[in-house]
């Protein structure tokens, strides 16, 4: 009954960092004043998540830039996990982010706060970062720290209703209140290699502590009779430390286009190992257009306590069946277009663009099965699950 069914807990708000923290993209110069209005939509596996994202950025004086972002997820879910053990639901998650960048000489100091709220989850995050240019501005080193505090609740349905329809009266379970804490450290290095080549290295280490599970998701174990399995609550460890390192190269092609290649390696104490490989091509055309194409490949190994079907009840101390922790391969193909236009009646807007981006994400699970088909195939023999999703972003940007 919550976004947390879909999303690994607490990560979503940390990701909002990108919206407010990413702006200091040009070394030694404050980001430009900008306003963006975006509509985003994800549709896949019987889940639809849509919503707006609004950003405003303004310089105050010569050294300070302030940013505000409002983001919303309107979730409509009848996903495979939901259908298995609960009812479809609708929910809204609202997020407010505030950020400030202060430039002094060759150093940019950034600070920010993100607050995310949905009926059963409240997450607050603060972050600090420092970015320094050196070696003739060819090198930029960034250090960041973030701290998150989450309050986890659980929704209940106060009125009886058939499982394949939504609950008409959702309330918070007064007996359930947990918390989770997060710490993250990042190191980034951007290096100009030649007049046409840029490289970046990023390293991040995160620690999570507290209630890291999902109060709605369940595991299944083999049992006789009925569907061949029985559902039971999942049990997660209460700590996790993860490491991620990535490298990116961006090359300027002679006909005015760019080619970007990147690789990221991830590993955590739950034994999930993920490798991401991505290539992007950007081509400006006909004066006002810019086209983007991307191909992304991702492969992941399962968490040590993950299993689609445990052999019996209480098989191990920690048990999970979340597909985000399964072993899978995924391909994502993306296309985007940007059109630059003029607004004649508003000369104070010196640049404006209309943008659209479509991504098709295709995930092939290697050890997660479609449990809804247990009756037909037998528990543990159902076909491996596949997920295809369509992701759309439409947005307008103005620079004033």
């Amino acid at each position: 009954m919550s976004a947390r069914r879909l999303l690994p807990p607490f990560l979503r708000t940390l990701l909002a960092l990108g919206a407010v923290a990413a702006p200091a993209l040009l070394a030694g110069v404050l980001p430009e004043d900008e306003a963006d209005l975006m509509y985003h939509s994800y549709q896949g596996g019987d889940i639809t998540v849509r919503g707006p994202s609004v950003l405003i950025r303004k310089k105050v004086g010569d050294s300070l830039s302030l940013t505000y972002n409002y983001y919303e997820d309107m979730i409509s879910s009848a996903s495979i996990d939901v259908k298995l053990s609960a009812s479809p639901y609708h929910e809204i998650r609202k997020q407010n982010s505030f950020g400030a960048d202060y430039l002094h000489g060759k150093t940019t100091y950034s600070v920010g706060y993100i607050y995310s709220k949905e009926p059963d989850y409240i997450a607050s995050t603060t972050y600090y970062s420092l970015s320094q240019d050196m070696f003739g501005d060819l090198t930029t080193v960034t250090l960041g720290y973030r701290r998150g505090w989450d309050q986890v609740y659980r929704d209940l349905c106060a009125a009886p209703h058939p499982t394949d329809s939504e609950c008409p009266d959702i309330i918070n379970d007064p007996t359930f209140h947990q918390r989770a804490d997060h710490w993250g450290y990042t190191f980034g290095l951007t290096q100009i290699l030649t007049r046409n080549l840029l490289a970046t290295l990023n390293y991040e280490i995160d620690t999570d502590q507290g209630y890291l599970a999902n109060p709605y998701r369940q595991i299944r174990y083999a049992s006789t009779g009925g569907a061949g399995f029985t559902l039971a609550p999942q049990i997660y460890p209460n700590t996790r430390t993860s490491n991620a390192a990535s490298v990116l190269l961006k090359y300027y092609l002679p006909w005015r286009a760019t080619l970007t290649g990147s690789y990221r390696f991830y590993h955590d104490t739950w034994d999930v190992t993920g490798s991401t490989l991505e290539a992007d091509y950007t081509l400006p055309a006909w004066k006002r257009w810019i086209f983007d194409g991307s191909v992304r490949y991702y492969t992941q190994t399962h968490a040590s306590f993950f299993s689609d079907l445990f052999p019996y009840a209480n098989y191990s101390n920690f048990m999970a069946r979340d597909r985000e922790l399964a072993a899978f391969d995924s391909w994502t193909l993306g296309l985007g277009a940007t059109y630059e236009f003029d607004i004649p009646r508003a000369p104070w807007i010196h640049k404006s663009t209309a943008n659209i981006r479509y991504d098709r994400m295709m995930i092939d699970y290697k050890d997660y099965r479609d449990a809804l088909l247990a009756a037909q195939y037998g528990a543990g023999n159902e076909p491996l699950y596949k997920l295809d999703a369509n992701v759309l972003e439409v947005f307008l940007s103005i620079w004033y």
């Binding site: 990560l11 990701l15 923290a21 993209l25 960034t142 980034g188 030649t194 991504d359």
Partner: protein, 93 residues
């Protein structure tokens, strides 16, 4: 004034003098290495950064789009992190 005393007095400055000289010459060598030579010269001059300043060479052209895309993947996958980067650009100021 006994000889032993005089000798003792004379030996002490000589020994510390050698150490002090070694330290100063060491500092001199270090200063020459760090300060005496020019700092690392940028091999891409500020006036050669035309391509790097091009908006298409930006690490991310739009921050809310980039952050949404990261969010989309991290929600469905087990990996997260190491996606942000800052730098490049015209290197002005």
């Amino acid at each position: 004034m006994d000889r032993g005393g005089e000798q003792r007095v004379r030996r002490a400055p000589a020994a510390s003098g050698r150490r002090a000289r070694a330290a100063v010459l060491g500092a001199l060598a270090l200063a020459a290495a760090l300060g005496g030579c020019a700092p690392i010269e940028p091999w891409v001059k500020p006036y050669e950064r035309e391509h790097l300043a091009d908006p298409i060479m930006a690490l991310s052209r739009n921050s809310i789009a980039a952050s949404y895309r990261d969010h989309m993947f991290e929600t469905r996958e087990g990996s997260h992190g190491a996606t942000g980067a800052v730098g490049g650009g015209c290197g002005c100021n």
